[in-house]
């Protein structure tokens, strides 16, 4: 492998890893607060892409307005889903909520097919993001370059929010105990909605960064990234934000290099084996809380 090729792979891996990280945060935060594997998260990400198409193609909005519209619409979608499909099941067994999440996932995929047809739709180009930059033999688009930077910036802000603000404290409290949180005067539904707001906000941003260099949207476009990001969240220890980010980058880089080594057929096999091996060494992921039950 030449140095150039190596750098190119690194860039690819870090960039896709950054997007995985953004989406994985959504999984991990929802899991942290509701202990729910939100199977629908990948599909919310897919819907965000359709919102972009509508704003920029059908309503001809300029990209900076469109992005705001997309973020708003995605957040509303996410919060609505939480209200309709998860909130009524707050006191139900965990598995029932999980089935509701699978239901939402099927629902979004099929509604998208029903409304927009299963044919891929072109994702609108955002001028400056698609510009090609090259330095020393490596050529890449702006978006590939800024994705990891944006990811890290968001993660930094998010960590501040969670660890050093009142709402962050409330989120951590709610994640452990609904009833007692209510007794503190915390409106748990608001806090949970807020968690979905953050998750969906990042999914919307992630979708812009993801679909810009892969400009094609179809109803199943969210399912594989969804699964991978979920795996990323588990890698890092589900519930942990820095863990999800690290997991995203690990998956992005490892699958890129495995493909680079010529084993593209087995890239997912390697990823899963890596996951299982890591779990065997650290049973709750890299940054996961140890599940120690006091006897």
């Amino acid at each position: 492998m030449t140095t150039n090729a190596f750098l190119q792979y690194c860039l690819t891996g870090i960039s896709i890893g950054g997007i995985y990280a953004l989406i994985a945060i959504g999984y991990t935060m929802v899991y942290g607060i509701l202990r729910l594997i939100n199977f629908a998260h990948g599909d919310i990400f897919m819907m965000a892409a359709y919102f972009m198409i509508f704003s920029m193609v059908n309503f001809a909005l300029p990209w900076y307005v469109a992005i705001i519209v997309v973020i708003t619409a995605t957040v509303i979608l996410g919060v609505t889903i939480e209200r309709i499909a998860y909130k009524p099941l707050r006191s139900a067994p965990r598995m029932s909520i999980m089935i509701s999440a699978i239901g939402v996932s099927y629902f979004l995929q099929n509604v998208a097919t029903y409304l927009f047809s299963a044919l891929p739709k072109p994702y609108p180009a955002i001028g400056f993001l698609t510009k090609i930059i090259s330095f020393g033999g490596i050529s890449t688009s702006v978006v590939t370059f800024i994705t990891p930077i944006l990811t890290l910036a968001f993660v930094f802000i998010l960590m501040q929010l969670i660890n050093h603000t009142k709402i962050g404290m409330a989120m951590r409290a709610v994640s452990k105990d609904f009833e007692t949180s209510q007794l503190m005067g915390i409106k748990i539904n608001r806090v949970i909605s807020f968690t979905f707001v953050i998750g969906c906000f990042l999914a919307a941003i992630g979708s812009v960064l993801y679909f810009t260099p892969r400009p094609s949207v179809y109803p199943l476009a969210g399912s594989l990234p969804g699964l991978k990001c979920f795996i990323a969240a588990v890698f890092g220890g589900i519930g942990s934000v820095p863990g999800a980010v690290l997991g995203g980058f690990i998956i992005g880089l490892s699958e890129t290099f495995i493909k680079a080594a010529g084993y593209s057929e087995f890239s997912d096999v390697f990823t899963f084996i890596l996951l299982i091996v890591i779990l065997l060494i650290k049973p709750t992921g890299l940054f996961g809380e140890k599940i120690t039950e006091k006897v």
Partner: protein, 390 residues
């Protein structure tokens, strides 16, 4: 559980005679994916069938006029769902079945149709396994070994000696075609310098493309789904890949040009049909009529990906319907009117279709020995040449 002794004669009683034509309606099943991975292409194939049904809604047999009714089911591009979908068609009393887009689901459901003795006519399913050893499956398109060989000869003629392959793991259409191409290309003296695969619903091809770029092939053969094409092309462009990209019939779809834009320029592909072919009057008539049909209903236009481009699969869907229609007409004068008799008349059908003259060989495959090679130029599919397998 049950302890009653088996009495399989009862099972086969009706099966021996197939499904009879009764009443004044003839039901024809449409077995296509309209959701899932191949939902888009499947829907376009359905559009062709619906259009044909709209043009030829009735048939006269033995002095009676029958209405032909399409019964559509969605096989969800999923092999498990496909079998039950096929069963539900049989259950609703269809005498023939059209479809499906995507060979995998057709292979999965083939046995169901055979068991029920109901003939099925595939439109665009190109895998040899669909009709092989199945007396009730026909198809209106050419086969993958042929298509793979055609593209290999095309590549050779263009002077390409090295090629890279990209195919979808677990997808019989994609891997099958890649394998046929490889066989033919290597036989003709070419070398495969890279053989990459990806998972279903994969949307990031950067790593694969970087490897291929490093292998520096003359051309890249990438048989895949429409969705994959729209993702692969822009990423190839972004990676600065200059090798000629060639592909197969699925790629003849305007969606790809719309989605990939400039990245699609120059791609060459084989297909069944040429929209601009002036020499075939049937095709010419079909194209004008079909465009009107699409534009006449916004929902049709949405289903066709938002444009009125005529996809090859729509044309094949039309021809599949017409095959059954011709076979039904040929039933005129027959004593027993049932699906087995229909199968027998299908064997002898011969007519001028949109995609050329159609008649079936002993396997049930349409006898076609040329493919159209097209190239994307200025955002359009431009006819390049016809190519036969040499």
């Amino acid at each position: 559980g049950g302890n009653a002794s088996d009495d399989s004669a009862a099972n086969n009683e009706t099966a021996a005679t197939g499904v009879a034509i009764e009443g004044d309606t003839i039901k024809i099943g449409v077995f296509e994916p309209t959701t899932g991975e191949n939902g888009g292409g499947g829907m376009q194939e359905v559009l062709g069938m619906r259009y044909a049904n709209q043009l030829y809604p009735t048939v006269d047999i033995n002095g009676n006029t029958y209405n032909i009714q399409l019964v559509e089911v969605d096989n969800q591009s999923d092999k498990t769902a496909a079998v039950t979908a096929a069963q539900s068609l049989i259950s609703s009393g269809v005498v023939a079945v059209l479809g499906s887009y995507g060979s995998g689901v057709s292979i999965a459901a083939g046995q169901t149709f055979t068991d029920a003795q109901v003939p099925a006519i595939g439109a665009s399913c190109t895998n040899p396994q669909v009709t092989l050893g199945n007396d009730f499956y026909f198809r209106t398109c050419f086969l993958d070994p042929f298509q793979g060989t055609v593209m290999a000869s095309y590549a050779m003629e263009q002077g390409y000696t090295t090629a890279a392959l990209i195919s979808q793991n677990g997808d019989d259409y994609s891997t099958g075609l890649a394998a046929f191409f490889q066989q033919a290309f290597e036989k003709m003296g070419g070398t495969i310098v890279a053989n990459e695969t990806y998972q279903t619903n994969e949307s990031d091809f950067n790593a694969i493309l970087t490897s291929i770029k490093a292998a520096n092939p003359d051309c890249i053969f990438a048989p895949s789904s429409i969705a994959t094409a729209t993702l692969l092309l822009p990423q190839a462009q972004a990676n600065g890949i200059t090798a000629q990209i060639i592909a197969s019939d699925t790629w003849e779809n305007e969606t790809i040009i719309n989605a990939a834009g400039s990245a699609a320029e120059g791609v060459a592909l084989s297909t069944f049909f040429d929209e601009h072919d002036e020499t075939n009057p049937v095709a010419k008539e079909f194209v004008t009529g079909f465009k009107e049909y699409l534009n006449g209903n916004p929902q049709n236009l949405t289903s066709n990906g938002g444009s009125d481009g005529v996809a090859a699969v729509s044309a094949l869907g039309y021809d599949a319907y017409m095959s059954v229609y011709e076979a039904l007409k040929a039933l005129d004068g027959a004593e027993t009117l049932n699906s087995v008799a229909l199968r027998d008349t299908l064997k002898a059908v011969s007519f001028n279709g949109v995609t050329g003259a159609i008649s079936f060989d002993e396997n049930g495959d349409a006898i076609k020995n040329v493919a159209y090679i097209k190239q994307i130029k200025d955002g359009k599919f431009a006819f390049l040449k016809t190519q036969s397998a040499e």
